[in-house]
């Protein structure tokens, strides 16, 4: 019986409609992901009308292939232009771009292609083999756990402050402040909206991200645009073998980042972007050379890309089993499932088991195809780094404006992008890391929601509420360890260049 279903599913995957849907999804996904402003979620949503007339298996598989490939595609401009194509690629830019500046664009893209594939494959297997237990486990995360998880993510701020710890914390706190803009979830009170309707729902993340990362970088490189040198060195040649050896050397990082990606992906309400930040922070914490992070450490790129891709299929775990999407893109795919007349839940694994397993097995093959297609195309894009800065800079500006406008066809987003572009430029000039602000903006609202809900639920006995929950206690311990670790290390080694929290306390 078991073997029968394996053969049956494989024969369903290897049919023309399914294979075509996969390849189309991969190509479109890479494209959508690589264009800033068009996120993975939007790419999936835009394609939904196309899937209405299709059979369920190829339809859902195409959408999942787009999602996975877009998360991968987002890293291409992040590395080449310091312009994250999707929010999930922001952490990739931190080390990917410096690597490109050192002339290693092609080999970094090769590493990214392989790590994205590995992360995606691990995620695909987790979905196929562990969906029911993982979804039960994910539900154990309640408001206190989300609050603490966000706090744990915020401890990564220490990894982003490359110069002064204090400036890193200020930039992070600024991000938290930005995250508080908009309607208060518990009372409906509108905060810091200055009478602007756009701000009532909170600051839109993508224009802020494009401004802080991409536009500010354009302003930075414009300072030296008059010399007609190409924007960076270009080292010819890239080898799959050398990329593979980079990855194998960092296998613990790959393993850790996949686990982080799957855990964060499975949780409803957090997705690939948060996974990549947490994995990046942990990679730095465990690294033997944390001082290299932010200046071109391949480990940072590996962590971010493994984790955000590992989150992709994982976000579908609670979506398929319970109808609770693990992230925004999964929510859209869930919508497509409903359009197909398929309700998430048990029936997907009983009545429609054939379709469900075809999708899950298909996703694994889609990841393999994505890796092959990626290796054939993407490293060649490194040639972009040979274009002189004077030409690249205006092109990126155009991309920033179009990307911000495309989110909702409104000028507000373009203005927000421009303001944050200027702000990001000034921040970098004065040594404040914009990445810390982005981290605060992403995690702030999640921490707030968790804390505010906990305060209502733990009414009268808050400490007992937090300490009576095992996962919550583990997370608290993790936070304390991660804050104290740099201090302890400092004591042991005596002198360290690592800027830890201790730098402030002293």
């Amino acid at each position: 019986m078991e073997e029968w279903i394996v053969f049956r599913v494989l024969s369903l995957v290897f049919t023309w409609p399914v294979l075509t849907a996969m390849v189309v999804g991969i190509l479109l996904g890479i494209l959508v992901g690589a264009l800033p402003g068009l996120t993975a979620t939007m790419g999936v949503a835009l394609l939904i009308p196309l899937t209405i007339g299709m059979d369920p298996a190829p339809a859902i598989l195409m959408l999942m292939a787009i999602y996975g490939a877009a998360i991968y595609g987002g890293s291409i401009p992040a590395i080449l232009l310091h312009t994250p194509g999707t929010p999930a690629a922001a952490a990739t830019a931190l080390d990917g771009y410096p690597l490109a500046l050192q002339g290693k664009a092609a080999s970094t893209l090769c590493v990214v292609t392989l790590t994205s594939t590995i992360g995606g494959l691990i995620s695909g297997f987790a979905l196929l083999l562990l969906a029911p237990p993982l979804s039960v486990w994910a539900l154990k995360f309640g408001p206190p756990e989300y609050f603490l998880l966000a706090c744990f993510g915020l401890t990564a701020l220490a990894s982003l402050a490359s110069g002064s710890m204090l400036k890193g914390l200020i930039a992070g706190a600024f991000g938290l402040l930005l995250g508080s803009v908009g309607v208060d979830i518990m009372t409906g009170f509108a905060r810091y909206h200055f009478g602007l309707v756009v701000l009532i729902g909170g600051l839109p993340l993508i224009p802020v991200l494009i401004g802080l990362f991409a536009l500010s970088e354009v302003l930075m490189i414009s300072e030296t645009a008059h010399d007609k040198k190409p924007s960076s060195l270009f080292v010819k040649g890239w080898g799959i073998l050398s990329a593979l050896s980079d990855i194998i050397k960092d296998k613990m990082n790959v393993l850790r980042s996949s686990i982080i990606g799957i855990i964060v992906g499975v949780l409803p309400g957090t997705g690939a972007d948060i996974a990549s930040w947490i994995a990046y922070g942990e990679a730095r914490r465990f690294s033997k050379h944390p001082e290299r992070f932010g200046k071109g450490a391949i480990g940072g790129v590996i962590a971010s890309e493994v984790a955000n891709n590992a989150a992709t299929a994982a976000t579908m775990v609670p979506a398929l089993t319970l109808g609770i999407p693990g992230g925004a893109a999964a929510a859209v795919i869930l919508g497509a499932l409903l359009i197909q007349g398929l309700r998430p839940g048990r029936e997907l694994f009983t009545v429609h088991a054939e379709m469900t397993y075809t999708v899950m097995v298909g996703f694994i093959f889609a990841k393999i195809f994505m890796g092959i297609i990626g290796l054939l195309i993407v490293p060649h894009m490194a040639h972009i780094t040979r274009v002189p800065r004077g030409i690249v800079a205006p092109l990126v500006v155009a991309l920033c404006v179009v990307g911000s406008f495309a989110i909702a066809y409104q000028m507000y987003d373009v203005w927000i992008m421009l303001i944050f572009g200027l702000l990001g430029y000034l921040m970098r000039k004065f040594g404040f890391p914009p990445a810390a602000t982005v981290l605060g903006l992403i995690l702030g609202p999640i921490a707030e929601l968790g804390l505010r809900q906990s305060l209502v639920l733990g009414e009268g006995a808050l400490l007992a509420y937090f300490f009576g929950r095992p996962i919550s206690v583990v997370l608290m311990a993790l936070i304390i360890i991660s804050l104290l670790l740099p201090l302890i290390r400092r004591k042991r080694i005596g002198q360290s260049s690592e800027p830890g929290i201790g730098a402030i306390i002293e």
């Binding site: 979620t41 939007m42 999936v44 949503a45 835009l46 939904i48 009308p49 209405i52 994910a138 539900l139 154990k140 995360f141 309640g142 408001p143 309607v183 208060d184 979830i185 518990m186 009372t187 409906g188 009170f189 509108a190 009478g195 309707v197 756009v198 701000l199 009532i200 729902g201 909170g202 839109p204 409803p268 309400g269 609670p318 319970l322 109808g323 609770i324 999407p325 925004a328 929510a331 859209v332 919508g335 497509a336 409903l338 359009i339 007349g341 309700r343 998430p344 839940g345 048990r346 029936e347 909702a408 066809y409 409104q410 507000y412 929601l449 809900q453 209502v456 639920l457 009414e459």
Partner: protein, 329 residues
């Protein structure tokens, strides 16, 4: 002959400018020129993200309406501000029938009634065309909850005020309004309101055992109820939902006429000529009744409820009155 054809846009232009300056349109008993509307593509604003409930409903409906109007309808998602970025765009668009949009109840009324937001618009900023979806609210608990009926739940809430947590999909959303309506109907019953960011959040909280009561809509609970994950105790309507025929209404349980739902339909800026509104209402209504659309919505568990023009406006107005009462504005 050519001259005559040119007359049509001329007459139309004059008529439209007259409407625009607020003059009464001279009533011509015999309409000599049939209105060619629509002659170019129509933009449909969805105030929520692509792939959400409103967006999916819109994209499922639009093809059938396009076929009837003979012009393409472009769906654009203008998000933010709890929907009001899109609705502001709709309210301020040219009232020519070429910009229409989804109006979501109760978010739209809450957005202009909330004194905090000082919203310059209100219901009069819009023309009502036709309601599309009518999704009734429900009250449910996790399958292993000790509460088997609504009465047991309420009795407990009266005896133990602020003991049970009531999960809503957002402060001042329809599920929060339902909580307020129940508390108003049963003196002494008090719940801890836990607000989230949407149905997915609420479901995760209740299934995880973090909160006690799930308040979402029929379309969102049908699958969970069928899988036996939750027990639906009541629906907030005067009659039972065809999707949940065994679940009693709050009305039949003696809570009074509590009707609580999330609804969405098509509107336009105020001042769109009546005949264009009628043409759109007719096309959208026929599109909704298309067997393919009916089947698609049934699969999703969403009830179609076309309410036309003035009646739809009144429907939106009634909701406004109810919200004002419940939130004390």
């Amino acid at each position: 002959m050519k001259q005559k054809i040119l007359l049509i846009p001329l007459v139309l232009l004059i008529a439209l400018s007259l409407v625009a300056v607020g003059c009464p349109v001279p009533v011509d008993p015999v309409e000599p020129v049939p209105d060619p509307y629509p002659t170019r593509p129509i933009t449909l604003i969805v105030s929520f993200a692509a792939g959400g409930g409103t967006d999916i409903g819109a994209r499922l409906l639009v093809p059938h309406v396009e076929a009837l109007l003979g012009q393409p309808i472009t769906v654009i998602n203008v998000t933010g501000g709890g929907g009001w970025v899109g609705w502001t765009r709709l309210a301020t668009a040219a009232p020519d029938g070429y910009t229409i949009g989804y109006l979501n109840t109760p978010a739209i009324q809450v957005g202009y009634l909330n004194p905090e937001l000082a919203n310059p618009h209100n219901l009069e900023s819009f023309s009502a065309i036709v309601n599309h979806v009518f999704d009734i609210g429900i009250i449910a608990v996790r399958a292993d909850s000790p509460f088997m009926t609504m009465e047991e739940l309420i009795d407990y809430a009266v005896q133990h005020p602020r003991k049970l947590s009531f999960t809503t999909t957002g402060a001042m959303g329809d599920d929060h309004l339902r909580l307020l309506a129940i508390e108003a109907a049963v003196p002494g019953a008090e719940f801890k309101a836990v607000h989230g960011r949407g149905a997915a959040d609420s479901i995760a909280l209740v299934l995880g055992g973090h909160t006690d009561i799930l308040a979402i809509n029929v379309g969102e609970v049908v699958g969970l109820a069928r899988d036996g994950e939750v027990r639906v105790l009541a629906v907030s309507d005067l009659e039972r939902s065809p999707f949940l025929p065994d679940v009693p209404t709050l009305y039949e349980l003696g809570f009074g006429p509590i009707v609580n739902y999330s609804a969405r339909g098509i509107g336009a800026p105020a001042g769109v000529p009546r005949h264009i509104l009628e043409k759109l209402a007719e096309a959208f209504k026929r599109g909704m009744m298309h067997p393919e659309h009916v089947a698609a919505m049934e699969k999703v568990g969403l009830a179609l409820k076309p309410i036309l023009l003035d009646e739809y406006y009144q429907f939106l107005k009634d909701e406004e009155i109810m919200i004002k009462k419940l939130l004390g504005w």
